[in-house]
Symmetry: C2
Subunit: 672 residues, 2 copies
Amino acid sequence: MVNQVQRVEDTWRTCSKSDSSGASNSGGESSKESSRSSTPVLDTDRTDRLRDKMRRRTESGDHWFSLEFFPPRTASGAVNLISRFDRMGSGGPLFIDVTWHPAGDPGSDKETSSMMIASTAVNYCGLESILHLTCCNQTKEKITGYLSKAKRLGLKNIMALRGDPMGADWEEEEAGFNYATDLVKHIRCEFDDYFDICVAGYPTGHPEAESYDEDLRHLKEKMDAGADFIITQLFFRADTFLKFVRDCRAIGITCPILPGIFPIQGYQSLRQLVKLSKLEVPDEIMRVIEPIKDNDAAIRNYGIEQAVGMCRVLLESGEVPGLHFYTLNREVATMEVLRQLGLWNEDPRRTLPWAVSAHPKRKVEDVRPIFWASRPKSYIYRTQDWDDFPNGRWGNSSSPAFGELNDYYLFYLKSKSSKDALLKMWGEELTSEQSVYEVFTSYITAQPNVAGHKVMCLPWNDDPLAPETNLLKNELDKVNRRGVLTINSQPSINGKPSSDPIVGWGPPGGYVFQKAYLEFFTSSENVTALLKVLKKYEPRVNYHIVNVHGQNTTNAHDMQPNAVTWGIFPGREIVQPTVVDPVSFLYWKDEAFALWIEQWAKLYEDESPSRMIIKYIHDNYFLVNLVDNDFPLDNCLWQVIDDMFELLDNPQEEQPAEQPNDEQSDKEQPGK
Amino acid sequence: MVNQVQRVEDTWRTCSKSDSSGASNSGGESSKESSRSSTPVLDTDRTDRLRDKMRRRTESGDHWFSLEFFPPRTASGAVNLISRFDRMGSGGPLFIDVTWHPAGDPGSDKETSSMMIASTAVNYCGLESILHLTCCNQTKEKITGYLSKAKRLGLKNIMALRGDPMGADWEEEEAGFNYATDLVKHIRCEFDDYFDICVAGYPTGHPEAESYDEDLRHLKEKMDAGADFIITQLFFRADTFLKFVRDCRAIGITCPILPGIFPIQGYQSLRQLVKLSKLEVPDEIMRVIEPIKDNDAAIRNYGIEQAVGMCRVLLESGEVPGLHFYTLNREVATMEVLRQLGLWNEDPRRTLPWAVSAHPKRKVEDVRPIFWASRPKSYIYRTQDWDDFPNGRWGNSSSPAFGELNDYYLFYLKSKSSKDALLKMWGEELTSEQSVYEVFTSYITAQPNVAGHKVMCLPWNDDPLAPETNLLKNELDKVNRRGVLTINSQPSINGKPSSDPIVGWGPPGGYVFQKAYLEFFTSSENVTALLKVLKKYEPRVNYHIVNVHGQNTTNAHDMQPNAVTWGIFPGREIVQPTVVDPVSFLYWKDEAFALWIEQWAKLYEDESPSRMIIKYIHDNYFLVNLVDNDFPLDNCLWQVIDDMFELLDNPQEEQPAEQPNDEQSDKEQPGK
């Protein structure tokens, strides 16, 4: 817990780290110009490079961990790995790294390539990432091409490796890449200081090295060539690593050296890895494992226990600022080890209410439209070509437009669930609009649908209801049953602490606020009644109502954005990370309506009644968003919907109850 | 009252003017781009040109008024007129106009010139202004020079007049300026549509015109040449004006025609004006006035009654959108007429918490440092050369620096009070620092000083305590007595309605917030104790402490600004109009310390004890500002000052009470 508290403080660079060090003494006149062009940045980690983050964490004694993954073989494997990035990213790794598979077209644009997986981790999951790169058998041009592409994609860190020579007849090339040192030199020569460079260390010596000492000298050469830090090969005894660190220090290697931790997860995977890496498993481990080799659970439990014990020794040695985990793309064992060590962040603080991208170009971004709240990856994709990102004011962005809905984009639109699973959730056969309402209601209430299946997702929501939305569950249930098909909502918040576990975000000591928001699809009959009802809520409620053809009705003045989430923090300007922006709503509309067809209607046969029902909704329903501007009062949006139902139920009352009253009140104010 | 409510709504352009007209129906796709580069503007009046404001007010039936002034003869007359602009500006005139005095070097840079007075009204008083300009006996080059200068100074409206020919032997010049029409044509030719142009109308015909009809034809020519609206010469009967309007409409003059109202304020001034303008005073008026011609008060009362009666007829005619007043640079009669008509704005709403400049270049400005809160004119002067003004984010401003403290600037620094009055208030003779403390205390409490004089101003505060500051009066009194010499402060506000009469600002329906702020001079002994005390208030309290030499101590992170006033409004982005900006504080410091010397020390003989005391404070005291970031809680800044006094009173308690406790709490968290 101590580590977690410190991490939070560190991340936010609180206004004074200790009683005295926060006070700065500047020379007065000379510093007048210094902050003229600065923009408020909430999170130092968003701007620092990896080696600086390591330095700060090392100095503050705040241990970190990092996670290694390999690229998947299939597109659906890629979708799963990205979900895993999100889940494991929430635990607070300092970085992740993605291995380089020379045989798998690693630098290509394929969804499964090393390059694209690392880019996804950075851009869409907001993870600081290291891309591995091996150099043997590669031309300088090829390597420079890979590095340029990595830079273009927002990658900032490279793990420079030689890689395994292909074929037995490999020989050193003059002026070629024979060692990782050559690659380090090349990166520094071609890209100056742009990349942070990591290199591999071998606690028991590289299998091909002439000797342990010889190998250490090679490592020193890599550092001298410009590498920034070291991650080691896996090992099984803490002493092995600690001796290695002492030997490194003795020959002048001063950088961070991160131990590679391999929690044993199974008998076969251990044997295979040991064979590949030419390592020897110590007897005391083999003696435990051999008798239980057919019991996977027992081996995993042992592996966790063994890793935790070794990590404790490493951390207590004072020589280890952070631990690097070989995850083998699995979650359970590594997360359990980290939990037992107290390094897993159980209560991740949000920098902003939305997932922040780690792309350096987006580092000033601090406002987004609310519409993509459940689809942050889609938002990032559609704005990836922007030159400027909104900073403080949405209107300040000079970016021209949102990216089109194209095929590659649909990769991110693709549901994580199979067609079979979706049909079970959303109905093998739809008989009416009402059956669609029931799907929404099942999703909201987390109750099984008529066929007995839980609805875990909707086309607009890949995951179950967010904890924040759960606060509104009863009201959402009620309105969805009657065809107000909600896809996004937030409660009003009047100054909760920024540390609030459900709605909090941003640095400690602040206060967060929200205006109530509700977004839904509904029929044109409902919209007609709603528009009448909304007159009573002027100017308290702002609305935008649009159909698939772009027929758009709003009371937003001058198409100005409406801030719906903001925070007040010690010593900072106001942060307003979420807005209802009338212009981007029209782009979102395209996407929101497209999801009816792409994800839902296409589950059914062409011309089938089920497909026709979804198509009818797509063609005829309106997408509505409502904001209750009066955030200190009770949310009035449910009352608005109630009033709409009331009017629909009792249409005859409309005439006497409303129209004359309006006229009369006009007459009472003759000057109006 | 109806007018006032409507004016507010109009000014703020509420989100929908009526039940239906606010809803806009856009074509969808085509409007996607429209707001990308917009910035949030709170006040439409800040961006509209005068003729558009008139059109909007006319359409909504919201009557307005305007005020005419002439330039003063002396510099102190200029200071007085500027105060009058502030006072009369608070009543809500749509515009003011400043007459052109050909004999008074009207286009020069003199403080008293027509040009500079109009510029001051626009830039420093935030008033929409019309500059008169006469053309006869002027070269085109000269006129173009005047117009270019006016444009450069931010003036946007010209009253185009012929002016009285000088000398009896005036003759028409070929290709010269013989009539106002020529000037209108010239303005349109040389400056296209930049200026709004007003021309004069003569309800009884121009005295030099051949006939009334001939004069009407000349007026039509002026309109055809490009004039935008008409202000008439004064008249004494509503019928005179209404007939004139009918005659204008009959020959195709469609623009606004504003009646010139002259409340009779005295017998002599009436006689003089009538003589100059060759008007005849109707018998029914002369019959009332003659008997009371030596009773100024009686004449003024009659003048008010007569003007109110005539204005009522005019407004009720439906032909008069607004009234134009010839004030003769006096306040009482015009204000009384406007009050009786219900046109004077008794409760002026503030657009922002500070005085908004009317210069077109500054129209996006919506953030300022809090330091100049009592000196807005000084702030405007010192930033007049900026190319960009902060909009939303202080850090976004790329403006380089604040203007230097120079002579012209000191004109705005000059106290409105005479040296005699200042000595009475601030002490004929100072005997110690304590006597300075007493001056501050008298100012805060509004109690007479030892010599029996009320202290109505301080060098940093030209006016008595603001209503908002009055909320803090008791605490301010207490601390000033002990040498915490406060010059600026605000209470914390946690979401009061934007319509709050004391702390409210901005459009209706919003909520305003403030962090508590306190700024003061105090001795270095106090500062030493304060710095110790402030450790207990980290990170709740942010501070900046600087002396005249620029020795600066702060706990502001990265010199980032701290928002201390902000507002949340329906359908808008967050507005944060006031910040504590660390960089501008160092410029403010120069000004704040200079005021000790320029305004106070220089009242006394060189080397006199009084002067030495002020000089000592100037050289040795620190300027401190404190912000309590925890705005929802009770303001802790008074506790901070109390703790400082406590520590000064009981210095021996410091060691046992604080230091060991701090260490102990560190030990209780071993991982820290």
